[in-house]
C-alpha cells in the first residue's frame, strides 16, 4: 500500500506551519522526515494518518491493504501511549477488542506479537513496571497486532536513552527485514534517519516546506558495515539543515 501526500498546507490560527508538502511513501519503503524543531513534522504525520484535517491538499492511500489488516495506517508514538491501567497483554488486546475477533484467536494474536517482540515474559506486567525501551516494544507489539500496511512513527526513539535507542533501532531493522512494512518516520535525529530511511525528506523551519529529498540507495542490512558512507550522508543532510536549525532556535514560538 502507498501513502501519497499532495500539496499539504496547514495553519494554526494565523501561523503557517506547513506549506505545499508533496511526497509519497512507496510499498515497503521507509521515508524519514527530518527538520528543525517546530517545523510541523508531527502535524504532517497526524495529517498523514487522518488524525487531523489539512488546511489544503490531501492525504491519499493507493493500493490494497494486506490480507487481514485491521488498521492499515498505524501509529507509534513518542510517549508510547500505553494505558497505565492495563497490563502489557491488555494494551495489545485493546486494539483488537473492537473487531469482533473471538477470544481464542485474539489471545493467539497477542501471544504471537508478544513473542515476536520478546515480551512473552512480561505479558502480565503493568507499564509503570517497564523501562522506556520495553514500553516502546509494547507499543510496537500493539502496532503489529493490527497488521499495519503503513507505520506512522512519530519520533519513536526520542524518549529513550542512547543505548536503548541502539537496541531498539536494531530491533526495528530486523523487523523490517522480516515484514517489509512501509513507514513514515519522523525524527530530529539525523543518525536514525540515515540508518533507516530509503529517502530523507528535509523540511525547512516554520512554515515547513520541503528543502530537499535525499535518496539513500543502500540496503538496510549493509548499513552497519558502511558507516563511513552514512557519516558522509548525515553530514550532507546536516549541511542542508544547519542554517534552518539555527534560525528556528532563535524564533519565539506562539504555537503550542
Amino acid at each position: 500500500m502507498q501513502l501519497i501526500l499532495q500539496g499539504i498546507s496547514h495553519r494554526y490560527g494565523g501561523t503557517n506551519v506547513l506549506e505545499d508538502i508533496s511526497f509519497a511513501v512507496g510499498d515497503g519503503e521507509i521515508v524519514c522526515i527530518v527538520g528543525p524543531s517546530g517545523c510541523g513534522k508531527s502535524t504532517l504525520l497526524r495529517i498523514a494518518g487522518g488524525l487531523e484535517r489539512p488546511g489544503e491538499g490531501e492525504a491519499l492511500i493507493a493500493g490494497k491493504a494486506p490480507e487481514g489488516s485491521l488498521n492499515p495506517l498505524t501509529y507509534i508514538f513518542q510517549d508510547f501511549a500505553l494505558l497505565p491501567w492495563r497490563t502489557v497483554a491488555g494494551n495489545v488486546s485493546l486494539v483488537l477488542e473492537d473487531h469482533g475477533i473471538e477470544t481464542k484467536r485474539r489471545r493467539a494474536i497477542i501471544d504471537d506479537v508478544l513473542s515476536r517482540t520478546n515480551l512473552s515474559d512480561f505479558a502480565h506486567a503493568l507499564p509503570r513496571q517497564l523501562s522506556g525501551g520495553m514500553k516502546q516494544r509494547v507499543a510496537i507489539a500493539r502496532a503489529l497486532a493490527v497488521k499495519p500496511a503503513i507505520m506512522l512513527m512519530d519520533e519513536p526513539l526520542s524518549a529513550l536513552d542512547s543505548q536503548t535507542r541502539e537496541l531498539l533501532m536494531d530491533d526495528l531493522v530486523a523487523l523490517w527485514q522480516r515484514e517489509r512494512f512501509s513507514a513514515c518516520y519522523v525524527t530530529h535525529n539525523l543518525a536514525e534517519a540515515v540508518r533507516l530511511g530509503r529517502r530523507i525528506v528535509v523540511l525547512s523551519r516554520r512554515p515547513g516546506r520541503i528543502r530537499e529529498v535525499v535518496d539513500i540507495d543502500m540496503p538496510l542490512a549493509e548499513r552497519p558495515e558502511r558507516l563511513v558512507e552514512l557519516e558522509k550522508l548525515q553530514r550532507r543532510v546536516w549541511e542542508i539543515m544547519r542554517e534552518e536549525a539555527r534560525e528556528a532556535d532563535r524564533e519565539i514560538s506562539d504555537v503550542a
Binding site: L51, F77, A81, L83, D98, L126, R128, V146
Partner: protein
C-alpha cells in the same frame, strides 16, 4: 601553578588515596522535608487527649455542666446499645446517607461525563452547576419537604443534591485531565467512540472521581445531620437534637462520636476502593 602541584604529588601514588592531615567530612546538608510513617502516633495522641479530659473532669477542673467526662459519654453510648436504640438511629441514618449519596453520585457522574464529553452539555449545564453549587442545600429543605414529603424523601433529596454538584465537578475535571495522547491513540487504532469513553476516558478520570467521593461523602454527612434535625424522629441527627434540647450533654457527645466514627468508616471504605481501582498507579 595548581598544575605543578598536581604533578609533584602524582609522583607518590600511594599518597593519593590516603587522607591528608587536614581532611574532614563533607558537611551533610541534605535530609528533611520528607515524611516518615509513624504508625502509633495517631492513637497515642487520641488516647492522651481523652485521658487528660477524663482526668480533668474527675479532678473537678472541667465542670460537668460545661463538658461531661468521656466515661459518661461512653455510658450514654452503652445505654443506646442496651436499649437497642443504637441500631434504630444508626440504621435510619445509614439508609438515608447510602441512598442519597449513591443516587447523587450516579447522577453526578453521568452529568459530569456529559459535561466532559459534549460541548453542548458543557455550555448548557456548567453555568447551572456553578450557580447552584454554592447554595447551601439545607436552605432548600423546606422546599424539598413540600416536594418530596416530610418523610424520607426530603432527607434523601437533600443529601442527593449535596452529593450531586461536587461529583459533577470532580468528574468533568477528571475527564478534562485524561491524557489527550491516549485518546488520540484510541482514535488512531480505529476504536469506537463508546470504546474510547469506556476503556480510556472513564478509567483515566477514575482518580479524580474517587477523590471527589471523599469530598461528597463528608458533605453528605453534614447534610444528613442537618436534615435529621428538622422533622425526624430517628437518626443520629434527631438523637443529637433531642439530647441538646434536654441538655443531656453526655448523649450529645455520644452522638457526635457516632458521627465521627461514621466518617472514619466511610473514609476507610473509599481508601479500600482506591486501592482496588487504582492499583495501577502506585
Amino acid at each position: 601553578m595548581s598544575h605543578e602541584a598536581a604533578s609533584t604529588q602524582g609522583a607518590g601514588r600511594e599518597e593519593d588515596t590516603a587522607a591528608p592531615e587536614a581532611a574532614r567530612p563533607v558537611p551533610f546538608r541534605g535530609g528533611g522535608f520528607t515524611h516518615r510513617r509513624l504508625g502509633p502516633v495517631a492513637p497515642i495522641v487520641f488516647l492522651a487527649i481523652i485521658a487528660l479530659w477524663e482526668a480533668g473532669s474527675r479532678a473537678g477542673i472541667i465542670s460537668p455542666i460545661a463538658l461531661p467526662a468521656p466515661s459518661e459519654a461512653l455510658g450514654a453510648l452503652g445505654d443506646l446499645v442496651t436499649t437497642g436504640m443504637l441500631w434504630k438511629h444508626l440504621g435510619a441514618s445509614i439508609y438515608r446517607l447510602g441512598l442519597g449519596w449513591v443516587l447523587g453520585s450516579l447522577v453526578g457522574i453521568s452529568v459530569g461525563l456529559m459535561v466532559g464529553l459534549f460541548s453542548l452539555a458543557r455550555a448548557g449545564l456548567l453555568p447551572l452547576v456553578s450557580a447552584l453549587f454554592p447554595i447551601p442545600k439545607i436552605a432548600l429543605l423546606p422546599l424539598f419537604i413540600i416536594w418530596f414529603g416530610i418523610g424520607e424523601g426530603s432527607k434523601v433529596a437533600t443529601i442527593l443534591f449535596g452529593t450531586f454538584f461536587p461529583t459533577v465537578i470532580a468528574t468533568y475535571g477528571g475527564v478534562d485531565n485524561v491524557d489527550r495522547n491516549l485518546i488520540r491513540m484510541g482514535q488512531s487504532f480505529g476504536l469506537s467512540w463508546l470504546s474510547i469513553v469506556r476503556k480510556i476516558i472513564i478509567p483515566g478520570a477514575m482518580p479524580a472521581i474517587l477523590s471527589g467521593f471523599r469530598i461528597s461523602a463528608s458533605i453528605a454527612i453534614v447534610l444528613l445531620v442537618a436534615a435529621e434535625m428538622i422533622g425526624a424522629e430517628t437518626g443520629i441527627g434527631a438523637y443529637i437534637l433531642m439530647a441538646g434540647a434536654l441538655f443531656a450533654l453526655d448523649q450529645l457527645i455520644a452522638g457526635v462520636a457516632l458521627l465521627s466514627m461514621l466518617g472514619l468508616a466511610i473514609a476507610w471504605l473509599i481508601g479500600r476502593a482506591e486501592r482496588a481501582l487504582l492499583s495501577w498507579r502506585a
